[in-house]
C-alpha cells in the first residue's frame, strides 16, 4: 500500500505535463486518452510509489490534480 494517493480532475487538465515531469517518484505519465477539450490528462502508472507529497498539486496550473498522504 502506498503512502499517498493522487486524484485527477480530468476535465480541468490541459496536458502541460508539469506533474508528470516533476513527480519525484515518477508516478504519472500522460495518458493516450483525451478529455473533452482534446488534452491528454495524466494517469497513474506506478501507484505504489506515490508518497502523497502533493508536488503535482502545487505544480498544476489548472488545479486538476493533487496528492495527499493517507491518514494512518
Amino acid at each position: 500500500m502506498s503512502k499517498g494517493f493522487v486524484a485527477i480532475n480530468v476535465e480541468r487538465c490541459k496536458g502541460c505535463a508539469f506533474c508528470v515531469e516533476f513527480c519525484p517518484t515518477h508516478v504519472l505519465a500522460l495518458s493516450s486518452a483525451f478529455n473533452s477539450k482534446g488534452y491528454h490528462p495524466p494517469h497513474v502508472v506506478d501507484s505504489d510509489k506515490c508518497s502523497g507529497c502533493d508536488l503535482c498539486g502545487m505544480y498544476c496550473p489548472d488545479f486538476a490534480i493533487y496528492g495527499a498522504r493517507y491518514a494512518r
Binding site: 493522487v6 486524484a7 502541460c16 508539469f18 515531469e21 494517469h43 502533493d54 496550473p61 493533487y66
Partner: protein
Amino acid sequence: MSEPLLEVPCEIPPDAFNPVEPFLRTERIPHIWCAGCGIGTTVNCFTRALLASKANLDKVAIVSGIGCTGRVAGYARLDSFHTTHGRAIPFATGLKLANPELQVVVYSGDGDLFAIGGNHFIHAARRNMDIKVICVNNLTYAMTGGQTAPTTPSHVVSATAPYGVFEPAFNLVQLADACGASYVARWTTFHVKQLARSMEEVLQKKGFGFIEIISPCPTLYQRRNKMGDGLDTMKYYKQASKIRHGAPTGECNLSKAGEIVVGKFVDRDRPDYYELLQVQMHESLGDRYAEPEVGCAEC
C-alpha cells in the same frame, strides 16, 4: 471537484479535497490561462502560504491590475478587486489605510506593475506601505498578445518588436531593493516549495514586500521565440536557476537564455507607513491626535 474520468489505482478517501479548492471561486473554473502558463502554479503556492501563515481569510484582500496575472483576483475566493491597468498598488494603499486590519496583497503582472504602474510601485516601496506585491513576470504583455514589456530581455522577438527587442530591461528585484522594499525575493514557477515559503514569510512581515516569480507564457513569449512549451521552459528554469540568498540585486539581471538568480535578496526591518504616520502625529499633536477609526460600520 467533479469525478475523474479515469479510474486511478489509488483509493481516494471520501473526504479528500484539493487544498487549493477552498480558495477558488470554483464556479468560475476552468480559468482562462493557457496550457503551460505558470500563473495557476503561483496560485497554488499562494494558497499554501495562506494556510501555513494561518491567515484569517476574511481579512485577506487581493487587489490586481489588468492582464493575465490580473485575473487572479477573479478566481480567488477572498475579498478581491480587479482594478485598472497599473493602479492596483494605489487602490491597495487606500484599502489598507482605511482598514489597517486587512492583509492586502497585490497580485499582478510585470507590465501592469512596472510599465504603467511603475510610478506607483516606486512610491509604495519608498513609503514602505504595508502591502505585499506578488509579481508574476512572464517577460511580456501576455493578455494583449505578447508585446514588449519593460522586463522583456534583449534580442527577444515580441509583437511590437518583430525584429528583436533592443531596450535594456528592468531588473525588478534591483528596482524594488533600491526603492526601499522591506522584503525582496525572486523565484520561478519551478521553485514551488521555496515560493510558497517566501509567500508565507512575506505575509508575516510588516512593510512593503515584493516577490517576483518568473513564469512561462508558452502561447506568446516562448512560442514566438521558439523556446518550446511550458514544460520546456520549466526545465530551463530548473537548469538555469541558481539560488543565491542575499545576492546583491544589481547582479541579478535576467537575459534571453542565461542564468536566473533566485532566492531571498532583501529582508530588512523599517517602520511601515502607518507606523511612521502614527509616530509623527503623536509627536506633533500629543493628546490632540485622534487615531483613525477602522472602516466605520455605519459611516
